[in-house]
Chain length 341, copies 2
Amino acid sequence: MTEAGTQKRAGRAVRVEDVAREAGVSPITVSRALSDPEKVREETRKKVAEAVAKTGYVVNRFASSLRSGRSSIISVFVSNLQNQHFANAVQGCADALEGSGYHLLMAQTGYSDRLQQDVVERVLPFRPAAVMFTGVVQSERTRAQLGKLGIPVMEMWDYRPDPIDMLVGFSNAEGGRLMGEHFGRRGFRRIAYCGRTEDRGAQRLAGFREGLAASGRTVDFVLPLEGRRTVTDGMQALEQIRAGLPGCDAIFFGTDILAVGAVLEARHLGLKIPGDVAIAGYGDLEFVKQLHTPLTTIYVGSYALGLAAGQMLRKRLRHEEIGERIALSPIHLEVRASTGG
Amino acid sequence: MTEAGTQKRAGRAVRVEDVAREAGVSPITVSRALSDPEKVREETRKKVAEAVAKTGYVVNRFASSLRSGRSSIISVFVSNLQNQHFANAVQGCADALEGSGYHLLMAQTGYSDRLQQDVVERVLPFRPAAVMFTGVVQSERTRAQLGKLGIPVMEMWDYRPDPIDMLVGFSNAEGGRLMGEHFGRRGFRRIAYCGRTEDRGAQRLAGFREGLAASGRTVDFVLPLEGRRTVTDGMQALEQIRAGLPGCDAIFFGTDILAVGAVLEARHLGLKIPGDVAIAGYGDLEFVKQLHTPLTTIYVGSYALGLAAGQMLRKRLRHEEIGERIALSPIHLEVRASTGG
DNA sequence: TTGAAAGCGCTAACAT
DNA sequence: ATGTTAGCGCTTTCAA
């Protein structure tokens, strides 16, 4: 009982002190050997490594972050992982940050009026090194607060000329414009839009109008659909549009899912696509090229977007030059059979 | 300069001490008012709330977790969010844990031979309250180590009779069996399986064999496809199977994606589905019912699975009775046109 | 290259 | 119902 030995009670975790004793060095040397090996002599480093292995030491990040004031947490707000685009983007972020020493903390955003509260109550307690959003932050108050945090903030998805800090987005306006120009080239005459008309929906619609205007065309009917968007909604939308705009020969849906519903319904009604009505979507979900009538749509590379955002953020966290704080991720028109490509 | 006032240097964060001074109480009272309000008088609580609002105090979770020994972090290992099933499951977990005070920390699992290292180096430093896996942990060594942590461990997806701690899975064998019985009822005679033949693939295949055996049938050809599974792989698989098993009249694919490829290729070849060849998949991806030839498949409710897992874990973290530590999430056969439903 | 002392901000344990 | 004291485990700062 004289020989002290490593008195490892089951209840107590191994600490640097234990490793230090085992290695015959001081705690701070252990700390340095683990987090900044270059500052420690090769030989000492080896002794420490052995002691770590022997004791099974695992650093306590609460203690290290508390003391150092450095957090390895990046908090990412995702509205819904069931949306494949968002899931892809988050995976892209995760991949970009792989091996960086940072960790992604998931945060939910139900509705934007709760965002501020969520940030303060659930995220700031972790003193995150950065925060990311799969979407731009709507509330000006929240934007201001985030800006004042003094940490990198990444907004994704939509384009804004004035991001809080950094932004990687798609140009919704550009997507709409591409489709408008395409509709013009195809010679459609009575044109409808269906989908969201707020936020990014508004941008798509505005771009669509602009693209159509190039060939002297207009949007003759708009069916706003702000909330949930399902295949069934798309089926019903087709009927409503045909009732609201008799002779409608082309519809641009703000979301592939709606367009898919419309395609199914059109076939059900015995309509020819695009002969009787042309249909286009937005998003290029993986399966829409595999439909009976492959869907014309706007391709949106959500994984690439997340990856780009993660990479920009990573540079920023290393204090490297990032050049532009705004980047646009590639977007393009996929012409397929549903508009008679 | 005598009157101390709240000396808020820009660099220093607000601490409990500052709130306490502002409210005219002691730091511990502030702490209690925030984390265990019932222990504090209504009036005091109000004073504290005002002081918090005035000072803009946000708790430092590193400090609180360090001191209390309680972590609010649940670490969830996801192999790939681009797989919609996994993304759905993670969203289910997140929803189930909403409002519980726990936070999901994303952890990647590249390959299982790195899992152990990832757990130790990236997760254990956060002393997580629990860990979750979208899959069962393969390595026995890692299983043993996780078991010894003394925290709740949730494995999802596959069934194992001996989970590390808790498990919510699908019975892959059951899924295969349902399909085997279905193939028997449909009277198919020359039957092939294509897909993974390891792990869950093996279970599906074993169940499939069992289901077929009920009507005296066997699997006449197996095309193992362990790695990536794309639509293109499915297209090629159809050709290989027809070459390897002439007269094959029914194929069960271990994944919808492969089955979709086979359906497309069959149509390309002018084959009748299911007249010339019946095709079934596994997973019920959202769009397979919307194909030209809707796909017979096994429905797998991945969001429901994640939700169930999150709920079970949440109970466990509250030290409530959870009854069985193993649950199976509903799975069922969706008979559609591709097998002549 | 290594070490000694101190303290990050909070809350458990023990008073009162 | 509230306060006092101490210390969670680490790393900063300063010294050698």
